[in-house]
């Protein structure tokens, strides 16, 4: 699986707070960094399309936290994550920076891949339950056919 920056940032943004924190801790990577832009809570306005395909309109906002850090080794990391979790934003930014270093295989295998699997599983579980509620139509034998 090829992971480009847009993919890994997406995974980090959508991950569950707990999973990212636990997985990051389990890598036992401790890197020195300084914070360039403190975690900031804001919003992004979500847009819909009329009829699902047409003109854009504004639906409402979603909370987002963003920040940027600089590793002592010189790589910069950015994060934009869903929700309001400053600690998570920093962790995500560190992961983003580390993905640009020789430690990227570790971040990839120990954090990103498990997070992708988690998301797939979560989505698949919805689809599996949905399928169980799919209607099987049957036609009753009508009297005039007898």
């Amino acid at each position: 699986m090829k992971l480009d920056r847009s993919k890994w940032m997406s995974i980090l943004s959508k991950s569950s707070d707990k999973s990212l924190a636990n997985l990051f801790q389990s890598t036992e990577i401790y890197s020195d960094y300084k914070i360039l832009k403190k975690p900031e809570i804001g919003s992004v306005m979500v847009r819909g399309k009329i009829g699902g395909t047409g003109e854009l309109f504004n639906v409402g906002e979603v909370t987002i936290t963003r920040c940027s850090i600089l590793l002592n080794t010189g790589k910069m990391g950015f994060s934009y994550i869903q929700g309001r979790n400053k600690k998570k934003a920093i962790t995500a930014a560190i992961c983003d920076a580390l993905m640009q270093t020789h430690l990227s295989p570790q971040i990839r295998n120990k954090i990103l891949i498990p997070l992708i699997k988690e998301e797939e599983l979560r989505k698949k579980n919805i689809a599996k339950k949905a399928k169980a509620t799919k209607v099987d139509f049957f036609t009753l034998v009508r009297g005039d056919n007898l």
Partner: protein
Amino acid sequence: MYVAVKGGEKAIENAHRWLSEKRRGNTDLKSIELKQISEQLFLSVSRVMAEGSLYDKELASLAIKQSSGDLIEAIFLLRAYRTTLPRFGYSKGIETDNMICSRRISATYKDLPGGQILGPTYDYTHRLLDFKLIAEEEVHNSKEVEIDNIEKLSRVSEYLNKDDLIKRENNTSKQPKDLTREPLELPADRSLRLQSLTRSDEGFLLGMAYSTQRGYGRNHPFVGELRIGIVDVFFEISELGIEIEIGEIEITECETVNQFMGSKKEPPQFTRGYGLVFGQSERKAISMALVDRALQWKELGEENQNAPAQDEEFVLYHGDNIQATGFVEHIKLPHYVDFQSELELIRKIRKDAQKSEK
């Protein structure tokens, strides 16, 4: 008009202390946790997020707890918080075609590809109180059916699109107006109307939609498709020049197929109404689609029946429950001076009337 009145600080402080005690309720019981609200009262949370115009389950749960379950008060709290947030930008238009559906039904096609998926619905329940819930209930685990891949469900209106039987939606790159940035001005285009409708009060919208069905601006709707599920939200990070999936949200979408006889402007074609709401909220999404359709009468060259649901000023200016509750409830606040002048006036009129009787 109101006049600044001094005094009452102590009474107000004590009133708020009592409120906080009352909100907590009997302290022999555990305080309700936000997680319990978001997990077990998720439909309330959906409503607060939709009308509060902010997708954040934790904050919506907090607002519900803080307002003792008064959802309009909760929506007010969320809206107020929302205004304090810096806006990072606008997302791309969400692709509901790619929705992971927990529910997807059509009232127009029985055997549509992908099928009728009921999802966790209250439909077909008997609406009898379940006394087992008084005690600890038993939980029925949901059934699952194995799948290889998640199937993408095609859009019902696409079938009608193929034969040009339904009016197509124009896909333009026009930037929509945003009523959280500039005040609502009339006439509003459809984009702006939909933004207003998706955050307007569910009860108000339901009443408006119902009125169209009862004949006040009838538009003969079928629910072409109703779907609930999760979609990814795409956002471009300007610093990096890349687009990422910045979040995942649950939404409800409803497309109606409406009758249309043709007019001077349009060939005979079905027309559409559209509803899109944060969270799981199909009553609101259906209502939104019906009202959206009613408000399109001008664009479609239809007759103005003077129905309330066709009146965009009436609908858009009265659907916002925060504006409405603010104005309706403010009359309970001191109006001593206003009333004093009315009192004097009526006394004077009565006095004059008595004089002339003599």
